[in-house]
Amino acid sequence: MSVPHALLALLSEGPKYGLRLQNEFESRTGEVWPLNVGQVYTTLQRLERDGLVETDGVEGERSQKSYKITADGVRELAEWLRTPPDLVPPPRDELVIKVLVALQVPGTDVHEIIQVHRRHVIEVMQRYTQVKAAAGKDDVALALVADAELFRLEGIIRWLDAADVRLKQLPSPRPAPLADAPLEPAQTTEVSQ
């Protein structure tokens, strides 16, 4: 999430105080992306240094400064909206690495490792779904943010499912070198509560 551009977007509606910017940011995305007031002010200082916002120099109520977007800020915001996010090269995905490493560690049941992560991801998805379920019908911003996370997490689940099947189809699984390991991957029948 680009905090500077989110603040520019809020200022494009009109001049605002820092505290109001924080409130508006949080009311739109807060349950998913919390933002503290310190972050707001350091970001505003940087935006002011770069000439993207300006203050009127007059301190208002409770010595707060009112910030206003500049013409350069409007241009920057428009350009950012149209710039594709950095999708390549792919991030070194920790989960992918864990599954790859699990294949190398003797006595490790990779299907069990996959299930541990599958459960965890679903539990996180349940929480985002609760956010969505509790949101008001007109709270479109929150639904969009929750959806974005849910679709991203669903992608992870689909990768885990595909990895599970792909590994199951391997011609001959290496026998687990640890003693008394059964021939069947019976350890996956344990129910972990």
Binding site: E31, W33, R119, E123, Q126, R127, Y128, A133, L150, R158
Partner: protein
């Protein structure tokens, strides 16, 4: 809370000898009223078998199935059929609405089959259709309804009357993601009114509407989610 459905060490074997298939192996599962449970697993993991056994459409090879505390093996065939009609509602992937009947007649049918008077059945059906926001479509035939409306009518048919157990097999079928979400919201609302629900799905987003997700693999329950800690915990997880 009342346990509406309990499976104890349920196994199901199809065929015999070398062609024997173990669809379910010693499955334990209990579902309370007010609870929506999702069952996830790859194709062939036993999800649909679990649902048909829970709904008494099939008998287990071994183990016990209890609906509202009653062991299905101890009741006569006709009583079991009665239980199936009165206590259990089904939602299928392809909706299974009868094309020659209007939406209202489709919802009324299970009650009328059960001997409920036509007037009482229609009144209960109207109430169920109002809950699902399709009361204004009651005179339409299934082919005059959109996919989302058809599924709402199918859910109304599943919850009409005094049913305590709602079973759904891939209930969002080919619906798009928002119509699928709407179906899950309705199933969740139904369980929050005191029904126990079991939904079989392979879609993680749909499963995430459930209170608990149970994972099946090769006929075994291999795992399940912990009770959801509530959305406020996302604030702590937000700084990933």
């Amino acid at each position: 809370m009342t346990t509406a459905l309990e499976l104890r060490q349920v196994s199901k074997v199809y065929g015999s000898g070398p062609s024997e298939v173990h669809a379910l192996e010693a499955v334990d599962l209990s579902v309370e009223r007010d609870e929506l449970v999702a069952v996830m697993g790859p194709s062939g993991s036993g999800k649909s078998t679990l649902l048909t056994i829970a709904g008494s459409l099939e008998e287990p090879t071994r183990g016990e199935v209890l609906v509202d505390g009653i062991d299905l093996a101890t009741v006569s065939r006709s009583d079991r059929a009665k239980m199936r009609r009165r206590s259990i509602g089904y939602v299928f992937q392809d909706f299974n609405l009868l094309p020659g009947l209007t939406a209202l007649e489709n919802v009324t049918l299970p009650l009328e089959l059960d001997g409920v008077s036509s007037k009482a059945a229609r009144s209960a059906a109207r109430q169920a259709m109002e809950e699902l926001d399709v009361a204004d479509r009651k005179g339409h035939f299934p082919d005059e309804l959109s996919g989302g409306e058809r599924q709402r009518v199918a859910i109304a048919r599943a919850i009409v009357g005094e049913r305590g157990l709602l079973l759904a097999d891939e209930p969002t079928g080919a619906l798009d993601s928002l119509n699928g979400e709407a179906v899950m919201r309705l199933l969740r609302a139904a369980t929050q009114r005191g029904v126990a629900g079991v939904v079989v799905t392979h879609e993680a987003q749909l499963a995430s509407w459930a209170d608990r997700v149970v994972f099946l693999r090769d006929g075994h329950v291999v795992d399940q989610t912990a009770a959801p800690p509530g959305p406020e915990s996302l604030l702590a997880a937000g700084d990933r």
